[in-house]
Subunit: 144 residues, 2 copies
Amino acid sequence: MKEPQEVFDAYLAEKNLKATPQRRLILDTILKQKDHLSSEELYAKVKARDSSIGQATVYRTLKLLVDADIVEPLDFADGVTRYEPSYGEEHHDHLICTVCGKNIEILDPTIEKRQEQIAKEQGFKLSSHKMYLYGICNDCRKGK
Amino acid sequence: MKEPQEVFDAYLAEKNLKATPQRRLILDTILKQKDHLSSEELYAKVKARDSSIGQATVYRTLKLLVDADIVEPLDFADGVTRYEPSYGEEHHDHLICTVCGKNIEILDPTIEKRQEQIAKEQGFKLSSHKMYLYGICNDCRKGK
DNA sequence: ATAGATGCAAATGGTTTGCAGAGCT
DNA sequence: AGCTCTGCAAACCATTTGCATCTAT
């Protein structure tokens, strides 16, 4: 399988966009991260590596990466969009603790299959979906 | 079953808040609506009935209604939060056409059950969930 | 050479908040 | 009277955009 950076380069080339050091650095920073970073958090990490990079470039690059299907935007219902690398990763949804913010990735073929089926029944061509389960984790319940 | 207005009154009373004409009017306006209104759209409808009401009151009332479990916020991925009456309604999710905005309410016990089960397996007490299926409807595909 | 990229700062747009005056109870 | 409310306008805050300057190709 191709490296994400290669995929990004190919995407940029195809769109007549340029592979700049900033863009490479931003992608590299996301890929190195385990967590789901908000653009603010990502910006901080990026800035630590090259302090001359601006917020706007991070936002702009993130948009490209989403469009290139290399990263995916997440909505944890706290007002900030987070991002996670999605290229080469299996699709999954999230189970989020609304107290401590912990989140667990879930993958359930039963649900995925039903979603497709439901869309088809309604004459829709499914392009994407979001599923978030919100609850309180064991630790946070005990902690009380 | 109690009327939504009664439920709202009870909620307000319990919190030592007041049942004002504005609040009643806003709730009444939402209830009369079939569609899922954004706060902006709701504000317009409310204003048509009483032009002295301000945006802020609509936002503040919406928050109360959500907290009282009378209406539910929806995220159709277009940057605006929409609201739908939820009191006395069966829970359902949404299938949204990203071209024309059409949305279909879906209810699938298989998925609901799996969600509960997944949460339990992870030690979570599920409090809510969001599921949105995005796609393109038949009409919009043909229209091309 | 030149279309595209960057950083900065200003703009946007939905939503929230401070405040002074008004309204319930 | 003593709270809570309201409308207004200003404030917020994540994200976007205009612009003059740089840079990858």
